[in-house]
């Protein structure tokens, strides 16, 4: 039962450099950035002023008007991403058994902008001005709930919160549900907290880049690394039992979720090493692959020297110095919280499909990391496997292996 093959059959992407999987991929393979000065509020006076904002998204064009007042921006993005992913997979949910479909999303901060509006109503006007929708529009479970309602998916579903690692954890949970008997899961993560209150909270992490130059602000593995640029958006994927997908008439999938592992770092000051290496090894073991069989690694890309060193050390320990191509195309979109790793997984699947590894833009590799970082230009070649690594604030380490469909 646990050997059920689980494949990805549909992609829904909301990225700062492209709406929809193909637009995102066209931008990413060409090194086109979506990072710029914040437009969603006036960032003057804040120490960090750049973000990866999803531009050109008009929710009204995609969603019924009754959903607009009751949803945060991240939920609107997620609802449309789910629609696109289902369309891409050629799924009509009404034709599938309702208890065999589910939704598993990751969340980091919920509908924070909605929450800011209602906190403001409460404290500047009074409790009777708080919206009736506040009871669910901001909370972490909202995307799963709204997507399940929109598509009448009534099977096992869930919501996980593990900061930037959450996107992979949600996909792993989707695979688990498929192996327990579900046929189809909408899985991934979408976050959007580029609002003043969300910005203050993100600044508190002390990991944000304060540069004003979009090309110099987010430089993982570079000697000039100075923190990251946050972004919004993410990806939702259609995950299916490979056999069920075939029976449904899906000719080919984007690839198989072949392996997963996760660990949590020891308490700072304990003297013990990060569990990142162990997470990667668990994922490889779970996929039944040796390090030499991995064609490319998508790095987490904290862009803080201490964290980049841990990442590079784990990669070189497992794959050897310069042993595997490593890339971090999130330099074009920023770190998307729960959406980040889900989008990386999409990028990995499209890289396998097209035999092309997108570059880590703007970065000059600092010599002491010992990794084969793909910079400047995309790298072309046949790919059949990829490893995606994600790390969440506080010590969450997740790793996932995808493999080309047979």
């Amino acid at each position: 039962m646990t050997t059920t093959r689980v494949v990805v059959t549909g992609l829904g992407v909301m990225a700062p450099n492209g709406l929809g999987a193909e637009n995102y991929w066209a931008a990413t393979r060409n090194g086109k950035s979506g990072i710029g000065r914040i437009t969603r509020f006036d960032p003057t006076g804040y120490p960090a002023r750049l973000a990866g904002e999803v531009g050109g998204f008009a929710a009204e064009e995609h969603l019924p008007s009754r959903l607009i007042p009751q949803t945060d921006r991240m939920t609107r993005l997620a609802l449309v991403a789910a629609d696109w992913a289902l369309a891409d997979a050629g799924v009509r949910p009404s034709e599938l058994a309702e208890f065999e479909m589910g939704v598993v999303t990751a969340s980091s901060s919920g509908g924070f902008e909605f929450g800011q509006g209602e906190l403001q109503n409460l404290w500047s006007k009074g409790s009777q001005y708080v919206s009736a929708y506040q009871s669910f529009a901001w909370f972490y479970a909202v995307n799963t709930g709204q997507i399940s309602i929109r598509h009448a998916m009534r099977g096992p579903s869930g919501v996980l919160v593990s900061d930037q690692a959450g996107g992979l954890d949600a996909l792993a949970q989707a695979r688990r549900q498929i192996r327990k008997g579900s046929k189809l899961i909408v899985a991934g993560g979408v976050d959007a907290s580029i609002c003043p209150w969300g910005w203050v909270a993100q600044l508190a992490s002390r990991r944000l880049s304060t540069s004003d130059d979009p090309d110099r602000a987010y430089l993982p593995f570079d000697a000039a690394a100075c923190g990251h640029v946050p972004g919004e958006g993410g990806a939702l994927l259609i995950v299916e039992d490979a056999q069920a997908a075939r029976q449904r008439g899906v000719p080919t999938s984007y690839g198989e979720i072949a392996g997963y592992g996760c660990t949590f770092d020891p308490k700072p000051g304990s003297g013990r090493d990060s569990g990142l290496r162990q997470a990667i090894q668990l994922a490889l073991h779970n996929a039944g692959l040796a390090p030499g069989e991995i064609n490319v690694v998508f790095a987490d890309a904290a862009a803080l020297p201490a964290l980049d060193r841990i990442k590079a050390a784990a990669i070189t320990a497992i794959f050897g110095p310069y042993g595997v191509p490593v890339t971090a195309p999130k330099t074009m979109v920023g770190r998307l919280y729960s959406g980040g790793a889900a989008l990386d997984l999409v990028t990995a699947l499209l890289s396998i499909r097209d035999g092309l590894v997108p570059p880590t833009t703007n970065v000059s590799l600092a010599p002491d990391y010992g990794i084969d970082l793909v910079i400047e230009q995309p790298r072309v070649g046949v790919l059949s496997t990829a490893l995606v690594v994600a790390r969440g604030y506080g010590g969450f380490n997740s790793a996932m292996v995808v493999r080309a469909a047979e």
């Binding site: 980091s108 403001q120 006007k125 909370f139 009534r154 099977g155 949590f264």
Partner: protein, 422 residues
């Protein structure tokens, strides 16, 4: 061969007492912990009642830095997790840390911290562009509540899978269900799993006011939570945490641990109906119950006690009563059903785990806790809800259910470990 998961350690913080013993005493005595809100002046709010926990972090061993850094909900989780580990007798430091994991359920995360900090940085809501210079250094831990899982993992030394499960008011059941999955698939040997929430903040009270989900029975707070009673008119907000040590039956038996119960079956479904509404026919809850019973390999007649969601809203009480009849058939009329929310309120994401604790203690003591304040049964609710007084009752197998905003419906079957040995 299926790995069987058992509970070998429990830690509880609930309103009306601290620790497992106080919690159970409150329940069997049918006492209530619902009072007028004292955390802030509730006068401007429609509902002014809540079940607050009497909790002093210092007496529970938290240091000044931990107290400053953690939201109240995180403090609860760390304390109950440590209690559960001590109770289990496990020496976690002697085990492979990568094989110990953590799942913490929470519906609303650090709402108390976020509400308070928002007021500080926005000058009481006057500034739209809030002033970052006044933010506390650990604001990011409030922003993303995965910090709860991080704090628990650090405090017990776990380095395996760690996550927060946030499925609204079924979080407490789903977090434990998730932990069972990890144990059964063999990813871990031990899970520290449970849930926490500390939602009694002005913003949470205001948002439930706005949809009239909470009771306005402000003149009689001690009797304000009245599930299945004709006069009920909304739930009473609560707070607290329950965390458990879960391990495999075999390893627990080998180390001669006290086994509270086996987590024999678990299932969750979505109603895909409404973000806050419930279908009156109880369809998806019934489906979750049937699946959980089938996983547990028990039939309706084996269920000795049903720990109901019983939030005290009319729509829930009808929904749930229908679901029990749909899934248990005629046995629904014979088995006792009760709601401890009548006594400890509704602590959102935490309550599912607190109710697992109550269910396990019912098995341990062969006593079924009552539904307090049930004087005038609603004619639409015609099951045996154990009104007012606890009942001595042979209890080997318990069904506990939950229902959450977002449409989540979850069910878990807990069984006396000896009784489940085939």
């Amino acid at each position: 061969m299926r790995r069987r998961v058992v509970i070998t350690g429990i830690g509880v913080i609930a309103p009306g007492g601290s620790g497992v013993k106080d919690f159970w005493n409150l329940l069997v005595n049918g006492e209530t912990a619902t009072r007028k809100i004292s955390f802030f002046d509730p006068a401007p709010f429609r509902s002014q009642v809540a079940a607050q926990a009497d909790f002093d972090p210092e007496t529970h061993g938290l240091g000044p830095q931990e107290i400053r850094r953690m939201d109240r909900a995180a403090q609860f989780a760390v304390v109950t997790a440590r209690e559960a580990v001590v109770d289990s007798g496990l020496e976690l430091t002697a085990l492979d840390p990568y094989r110990t994991g953590v799942t913490v359920g929470s519906a609303v995360g650090a709402t108390m911290g976020l509400d308070a900090e928002y007021r500080v940085v926005s000058d009481g809501g006057r500034l739209e562009l809030v002033n970052y210079e006044y933010a506390v250094p650990h604001l990011y831990d409030y922003f993303v509540p995965s910090s709860f899982a991080a704090e628990v993992a650090w405090s017990v030394g776990a380095e395996g899978p760690a996550t927060v499960v946030s499925t609204g008011c079924t979080s407490g059941l789903d977090a434990v269900g998730h932990a069972c999955d990890l144990l059964r698939e063999g990813s871990v040997d031990v899970m520290i799993a449970g849930a926490t929430d500390a939602p009694i903040s002005p913003i949470t009270v205001a948002c439930f006011d706005a949809i009239k989900a909470t009771t306005p029975r402000n003149d009689d707070p001690e009797h304000a939570s009245r599930p299945f009673d004709r006069t009920r008119n909304g739930f009473v907000l609560g707070e607290g945490s329950a965390m458990f040590v879960l391990e495999e039956l075999e390893s627990a038996t080998r180390r001669n641990a006290h086994i509270y119960a086996e987590i024999a079956g678990f299932a969750t479904r979505c109603n895909a109906f409404h973000m806050t509404g419930l279908r009156p026919d109880g369809r998806e809850t019934a489906e979750a119950i049937r699946t959980a019973m089938s996983e547990a390999r028990v039939s309706a007649e084996d269920i000795d006690y049903v720990n109901a969601h019983g939030s005290g809203t009319r729509q829930n009480d009808r929904h749930e009563t229908a679901a029990f009849k749909r899934s248990l058939g005629a046995h629904a009329y014979r088995t006792p059903v009760s709601s401890i929310k009548s006594m400890v309120g509704h602590s959102l994401g935490a309550i599912g785990s607190i109710e697992i604790a109550a269910s396990v203690l019912a098995i341990e003591n062969n006593v079924v806790p009552p539904t307090a304040n049930l004087h005038n049964p609603d004619p639409e609710c015609d099951l045996d809800y154990v009104p007012l007084t606890a009942r001595e009752w042979p209890t080997d197998t318990v069904l506990t259910v939950g229902s959450g905003f977002g449409g989540f419906q979850s069910a878990m079957v807990l069984a006396r470990a000896e009784a489940s040995v085939a």
